[in-house]
């Protein structure tokens, strides 16, 4: 049974994991430098890069230990590492560590697209899932609707034309004076608010499957400027409802256009309670299976990178040691 070590450092999480050839997670460790970024209301690239250098070694050691593997010569068959998209200074730390370990252990290494990694996350919890699957991938950096015909065969059906969903949450949270990251803050506050209290537009960007959040952001800012006595919980609930309505309407349109066996959520925003219940409802309406990964698999982790790496090593072969990071690597360009 092959074992792959995955390494992920594309943003503020420093992560490593060992996954076997049947997509079983043997060990998975995630550390985050988020506390250092809170005061700035967003991830500061230089601080993230510095944190990765300090954290990556201990994270890999813990991962190997928890997998019961030798620290110096573990019986690892390959190393998978995120090489994009992400923050260049952060990506380079993981990539450097992966190459150095590949050289030290004389094993192949493979560069993995971070977004493709997210698409592999549901597989780690439901190894018997059936294709094709429609995935809504929403995080602080990305918002896409992807059709997966089979393992590793994906097509981007729609994508945000401006902000990512998580980015919109962060911006609104900052505007309302809430903490960072904005997703959990707004989700929590929304529980006590009334969704219809604020009239907000649900941006539909025409008939295609693309997404857009900047108009909604502007509408929230305008509405709260006009009515200063407005209740924050109502704003949070109204904003959250508008975001989810757009995402679910687009997902529904995608499901009408493509016959699938399952619908999946991925990315950090997939932790959102309203979105999760909406996708569950949609799945039962279309009589397909819903794949809602656990929190640990929604947010950035290295098990999903190892899983995608297993597939990429087998299908495309290893990467060269001269490979560089690609901070703007599009999912559509993965082959």
């Amino acid at each position: 049974m092959p074992l792959v070590l995955g390494i992920e450092t594309s943003c503020d999480e420093t992560a490593a994991a060992v996954v076997d050839g049947d997509f079983h997670v043997i060990s998975s460790v995630v550390e985050s430098s988020i506390d250092q970024h809170r005061a700035f209301g967003g991830v500061v690239p230089e601080l993230a890069g510095r944190a990765h250098v300090t954290t990556i070694g201990p994270v890999i050691r813990r991962t190997l230990k928890e997998a019961g593997l030798d620290q110096h010569y573990p019986s690892i068959d390959g190393i998978a590492v995120t090489s994009g998209p992400g923050l260049i200074g952060s990506l380079l730390v993981g990539l450097s560590a992966a190459k150095a370990l590949a050289l030290a252990w004389d094993v192949p290494f493979v560069a993995v697209n971070h977004l493709e990694g997210h698409l592999f996350a549901p597989l780690l919890e439901q190894p018997d899932l059936e294709w094709p699957i429609l995935t809504l991938l929403v995080s602080g950096g990305h918002s896409l609707i992807v059709l997966q015909r089979s393992l590793g065969q994906h097509e981007v059906l729609g994508e945000t034309i401006d902000d990512a969903a998580g980015e919109a949450y962060d911006k609104i949270a900052r505007w309302l004076g809430l903490g960072y990251p904005g997703g959990p803050e707004i989700d929590r506050l929304a529980q006590t608010g009334t969704a219809g209290a604020l009239k907000l537009p649900v941006s539909m960007t025409g008939s295609d499957l693309d997404l857009s959040f900047s108009g909604l952001k502007t509408a929230v800012v305008r509405a709260t400027q006009k009515h200063t006595e407005v209740d924050l919980a109502d704003v949070a609930a109204s904003f959250q409802a508008a975001v989810c309505e757009q995402l679910l309407r687009k997902l529904r349109a995608a499901m009408q256009a493509h016959e699938v066996k399952g619908v999946a959520l991925a990315g950090g925003v997939a932790a959102n309670s309203l979105l999760r219940s909406g996708v569950t409802q949609l799945a039962s309406e279309f009589a397909v299976v819903s794949h809602l990964p656990t929190m640990a698999m929604c947010t950035d982790n290295a098990a999903m990178i190892a899983a995608a790496g297993l597939y990429r090593l087998a299908s495309s072969g290893p990467s060269g040691l001269d490979l560089s990071a690609n901070p703007n690597w599009q999912l559509a360009d993965v082959s």
Partner: protein, 226 residues
Amino acid sequence: MNLLAIETATQACCVGVRTSSGVEIARVVDENRQHTETLTVGMAALIREAGLRTREIDRIVVDRGPGLFTGLRVGIATANAFAQGVGCGMVGVTSLEMLAYGAHEAGVRGTLVSAVDGRRGDVFVQTFELAESVEAIGPPGVATPQDVAAQWSRSGVALTFTGDGVERYRRDFDSVANAGIYTQLVPSMHAALWLGEQASPQMTIEPLYLREADAVANFATRERPQ
């Protein structure tokens, strides 16, 4: 002892190896900030050329800065992971001391100031006294090349400047009448290997940035509304 040395704190990427049988090879594998693309490839080639296998490396020596932040992280992340992988010890040397030892090796004596390009109009500097051995006179610091030049002009002390910071701001350093320049763009790998052999090994090495992240600096000094 078989040593492997890595340098990525400057524009260049260098690798050096010295074996217990006395073979020493050092090479500039890139001159244009392609650290990520060239470092591990260069390490693999040099280890092979020296007739070694990776697990025969006993110690890895790495330039921990000051210098290019991204380059430093590539070098140190690589060195730390490689050492973890093969289970060897590590030694961190500074770019400024590598330059001082490099100049000493070339016969430079007396007061020497190492200057590494710090970007944003700054240089990382440290003063050394080169006699029979090399001795640091003060801690490493950050300054503008204009301030460094003015300070040494005023002092009247005869000295030598070296490092890529001197080349970058050649006009400022040339203006110091009492100073000569020893041209040395890349910190000496021979010096790194020698220093690495003398020191006692550590488990991991941390970068020496000498300057906090811009966002932190701006955040700390920005004007806050009353």
